[in-house]
Symmetry: C2
Subunit: 176 residues, 2 copies
């Protein structure tokens, strides 16, 4: 008898991908607050039980899906110019939330936030700290000066996410 | 500046008050994402139709209720010291969201935000502009430097809303 092999690719990756597409379709069609786990499971063609087991509720699922497009393994800006790198990194987040779908998913997911730090936030903060190293602004300054205002505008003032925002915010932390 | 007396009429004021208490009870009991208009109407002893007519959906109702405790007619700090006034004003917002109930209502309400500016945000921004007058930071600086980071932390990092936050944020806009 051979030992059971744990499969991490193949089927589970396909299930995850089907669930992501189902969430995005449903957010587009109905708005984030109308997305439920049974609807997602039906659209993705998977068993609702396995969706509940992994995410617990729709808001947590949305929170998780909202962040996957900003691939945490993607290459970060590293020109050697701290200010330019921070602007490039912040612009990417602004661009992400300029897409109404991503902002809608963020809004739906924020309902489940607050009991623990979201994976999205952990990833963004970790990225910023890689970029700034020991020389630049501290983690709190990145949160209060860049991530906080961008996400606040994405949730409450999405029409103000203009192309200059990243530059304006970084200018206040790392003057030109 | 004394607050004008606002008469909203006996019965409608009583209904509004019953609805507010019902929302707060239900958020405490179930969490904001489980609050529905039929539940609120039943708890408040009012007709669901009238709740739907005024707010449309539960997220909009939560958004509205989340803000009423920061009475827009309350007296604003006006010591003549811009920095001290901004710190007093920002501290009041931080204190508001340090209460888990207020943060939970904010999270539930943010699901409905984004299609129009919320009344809360309009009120907070208007207050800030009254405080700073022509001399102080511009509206965008108030949003990005104070309101954004406080609300972001209230939603995603509520345990970091410490008593120094208001001072730290104002320090960056109006150095001591």
């Amino acid at each position: 008898m051979s030992a059971p092999v744990r499969r991490t690719g193949g089927r589970s990756a396909a299930v995850l991908s089907a669930i992501r597409y189902a969430v995005e379709d449903l957010v587009r069609e109905r708005g984030a607050e109308k997305v439920t786990i049974p609807l997602v499971a039906e659209r993705a063609g998977v068993n609702p039980t396995s969706v509940y087991r992994r995410w617990g509720d729709a808001a947590t699922l949305l929170n998780d899906i909202a962040t996957y497009r900003l691939d945490p393994d993607r290459e970060l800006p590293h020109s050697g110019d701290l200010r330019a790198d921070l602007i490039a990194w912040a612009s990417e987040i602004v661009e992400h939330y300029r897409k109404p779908l991503n902002a809608a998913i963020l809004r739906g997911g924020s309902a489940s936030a607050g009991e623990q730090e979201t994976e999205c936030l952990r990833n963004r903060r970790a990225e910023a700290l890689v970029i700034v190293g020991d020389a630049g602004p501290a983690a709190d300054e990145i949160i209060d000066g860049i991530i906080g205002p961008i996400v606040y505008r994405a949730i409450f003032l999405p029409w103000t996410l203009d192309e200059d925002l990243a530059v304006r915010l970084v200018d206040r932390l790392v003057p030109a």
